[in-house]
Symmetry: C2
Subunit: 317 residues, 2 copies
């Protein structure tokens, strides 16, 4: 058993490629941060546990994981990765292992929900009652916060597998998703861009037709998120969005797609509605720290100690 220091929190982002561990209370107060490749579950979970054992033990740990994951606190497989294509990680328990080995309360979310929480707490989503954090990188995913809580339902948002209009005359590429072909991720992820143009996205010049097509698909996907969940702000991150000329193109196309129908002043000023992340690569691990602060606060208030109490549905009043 390691000593518990009450005011330090742990954050873990287990990404598909990299794993990040941090200790602290926020972006201005990180006492340790370590990044290492996500390899096998045993090795990766071992390094996470070792990171925390090497430092002061946190009051609680938040985990944001690549998915799909089981975030249902009533489920016997809560805290695990489920049907991922990532080799060796199918049906892998993550949160219970960390909780049991370190003996601290643990909160568990998708990596994108954690990033949304990080941006809401310290970044581009402050003071927004609801929020979508979208990542367009190797894949496409989104975390939604409603009233400060990650939206869970039957599973969690899987926006990458939305089906969108695909004009095969303009874009004959059949799509890169092994399951669905031309779903959103199959058309617009970094992998899809690379396969379609046979080039690494950062190597495509700003005036390459790839970018207008990409703006089309990203705008269509964001429109779906707006029509269903109507978040107060959308933060678009991920490697593909690092192309500086892309976000303004997406805004312009989204404006056309909305067509003046949705009646909210901010939708007439998409510069404020659809924004870049403020925390960069650290949104996920910082959001994981925010999750840890939340779960510790609930324990302190004596609320029921389900593993992810803060992320369960709010009670019916």
């Amino acid at each position: 058993m390691i000593a518990v220091v009450a005011t330090i929190y742990g954050g873990v982002e287990t990404g598909g490629t990299w794993c990040v561990c941090a200790l602290g209370t926020g972006p201005q107060d990180l006492v340790a941060l370590e990044k290492f490749p996500t390899t096998t579950p045993a090795e990766t979970l071992g390094r996470i546990v070792a990171f925390f054992r090497a430092h002061a033990a946190p009051r609680a740990i938040g985990i944001g994981s690549f998915g799909p994951v089981d975030v249902d606190p009533r489920s016997p497989t809560w805290g695990s990765v489920t049907t991922t294509p990532k080799r060796g990680w199918q049906r892998t328990s993550v949160a219970p292992v960390i909780r049991d080995q370190l003996g601290v309360p643990v909160a568990f979310e998708t990596d994108v929900a954690a990033a949304a929480l990080g941006e809401q707490t310290w970044g581009a989503g402050r003071e927004q009652p609801s929020l979508c954090y979208l990542t367009v990188g190797t894949g496409i995913g989104a975390g939604l916060l409603i009233g400060g809580r990650p939206l869970h339902g039957l599973v969690h948002p899987e926006v990458g597998h939305l089906r969108l209009p695909h004009d095969r005359e303009r874009d004959p590429f059949p799509g890169a998703c092994p399951v669905h072909g031309d779903c959103w991720e199959g058309l617009a992820s970094g992998d899809a861009i690379a396969q379609r143009w046979n080039a690494w996205p950062p190597d495509l010049p700003d005036d390459h037709p790839a970018w207008a097509l990409e703006a089309e698909y990203i705008a269509l996907g964001i429109l779906s998120i707006v029509c269903v969940a109507s978040p107060h702000r959308v933060i678009a991150g991920g490697g593909v969005m690092e192309r500086a000329t892309l976000l303004p193109m997406v805004r312009e196309r989204l404006r056309e797609l909305i067509g003046g129908y949705l009646d909210a002043p901010v939708l007439h000023d998409l510069d404020r509605y659809l924004v870049a992340p403020a925390l960069g690569d650290e949104a996920g691990v910082l959001g994981a720290i925010a999750l840890a602060i939340g779960v510790a606060s609930e324990r302190d208030q004596g609320l029921p100690s389900s593993p992810t109490r803060r992320s369960g549905p709010s009670p019916r009043t």
Copy 2:
């Protein structure tokens, strides 16, 4: 001033065509119900007020309105219809008029959010932590409940204006939406079916190709709702869904579209996931009564008396 009887609640559904008023505490206990055409705002609101004045005054009134509506309790135009195409109803205050003329607390929601609440309280959505009530009729709309509360964000769900794959070889119809052309509603509402086939939908036989196409579009739209909000159950109502052969076709196509990717047992048994309403035409007005019960309960508990306290975002914990 009229006498207040503590245990009776009022429900109002202001639909685009019909308005329904009811008094009672639930489907087994309706003491009065009246239905009349939705005409001008002045006449319609006058009849609503007259209905309640003619009976014992309710403890509170819930209103489910056709939209788009302003459901933001912090907004100066809370409780009004906003950009509707319905003649005479643009920017019409509804809830404040009823509240002020009858002097009782009022809750205000979209008609589909009210229907979702009715089905969750007494119908096909019982015990579901989250729920989508979809209506496919003259238009297409959806109400989403998360943890028992209607989902609001910047506005409210506007699923009718989703953009979906539209194979113009299979379906050359350009779409019926005056703003967006071939959005979901433009392709799949009752009006779209009527325009495409030049026939009233109830007159099309079960083996007409209209129904396979309709199943395609409804499944694609539901897939969007599942990928973004992941509700625990989808209830599909509205006039078009009354075609008994349609729902099984939608389930079959939805199963294909999911492709086994989303990992939840109920998605392998879509008969339990995608269901018909249990309350029929009365879901909306019963849900409005549930809204009234909710707002009265909050008043009794001394919670802050914003006009729709029950439907605001849950507090960040």
